[in-house]
Symmetry: C2
Subunit: 219 residues, 2 copies
């Protein structure tokens, strides 16, 4: 039986992009279903009744939820090609630690920058710079977080690049001036076809964020 | 070379207990180092400079942080005995999903019950019951979350049992009346020697929580 793979997703989602990159890295064909998050489909509610969130990967009818869990699932099922996690247990734990760090830190603080004003926004920016400086420290002089090749941590973080223009514009700072090593790393990742093909245009994300800000009464 | 395994931990930590159960399940000898969290050791700060939190597993000099990542690391390194995660990728993803659910939900809401008063505490209790009802739904009629045998989700959740007496006393409710299936499951887990040996006495945790409440000015 051929594998039937369906992805429930929403185009600007950093979490969805992780799964799209993983599927592209593995060369897996799948059906992409765009969700309207203000009017979630019965399929999404059935497949992820606990969190009711995208992305959901449906593999031969069975759902897998939470982006980093989906990426690990993809790596374990299609384990004959393009490994996403290292094979060494220590390196795997190290990669999981930093992907978890991205999960716990980057989304919330990015959101703070474009959803708040004044002091709260300034505090968000300070925290944002600290987080990305920490990530720059971990990257060090390596081309990728995974070392010589693009890996699990790179895949976890790179989707945020498509949001950088929105974040720096609404946050009133210059990402390249603040975190040059991260921007250089991101541009390196964009040389990879699966990443370049997956990430939406920064201007399109900026427009989307602008619409969200209007809806939140910030503009 | 024999493995040198050190655990930096704090006895009432649910996260530390997960690692202690995993090490016991695998029959690994290790040196236990108790941390004073109000005066963290230079070793802890050196081994976990990012989060500065216990537990940290130091294996042949190299640190692994974050409890669920440590448990997966232990399972991958000592893979010749007592598997903690299932081997099937779908079941692994399913176990990771529920362990992640426990991580995201249970600690915060438990803490809310014993650190707040009035409306906030009542809201915490309502949320606590909803979370444990969801967990009871996932458990269903199985003896363990892992099915017929104690597994990754059981190991992730069972440490909270040692806090139940404190939570239900300060929360003014009866856990067995509210969530009978979870209490029955916990008692089943306590039949397992590695769990029974690891979990501290509920009364001792209750006294510890009482001291914390005094320090927070709640008593």
């Amino acid at each position: 039986m051929a594998d039937e793979v369906v992805l429930l997703d929403f185009w600007p989602s950093m979490f969805g992009m992780r799964v799209r990159i993983a599927l592209a890295e593995k060369g897996i064909e799948y059906e992409y279903k765009e969700e309207d998050l203000r009017n979630k489909s019965p399929l999404l509610l059935e497949m992820n009744p606990i969190h009711k969130k995208i992305p959901v990967l449906i593999h031969n009818g069975k759902p897998v939820c939470e982006s980093l869990i989906i990426v690990q699932y993809i790596d374990e099922v299609w384990n004959d090609r393009s490994p996403l996690l290292p094979t060494d247990p220590y390196q795997r734990a190290h990669a999981r630690f930093w992907a978890d760090y991205v999960d716990k830190k980057v989304y919330e603080v990015s959101r703070k920058i474009w959803t708040t004003k004044g002091e709260e926004k300034e505090a968000g920016k300070k925290e944002f710079f600290e987080i990305f400086k920490t990530l720059e420290g971990e990257l060090g002089d390596k081309p990728y977080f995974g070392g010589e090749t693009f890996g699990f941590v790179d895949l976890s973080l790179i989707p945020f690049y498509s949001w950088f223009h929105a974040i720096e514009t609404f946050g009133e700072f210059n990402m390249e001036a603040e975190c040059p090593k991260i921007v250089a790393w991101a541009k390196r990742c964009l040389q990879i076809e699966t990443v370049a093909k997956t990430l939406p245009d920064q201007k399109k994300v900026y427009e989307f964020v602008g619409q969200m800000r209007k809806r939140f009464g910030l503009e």
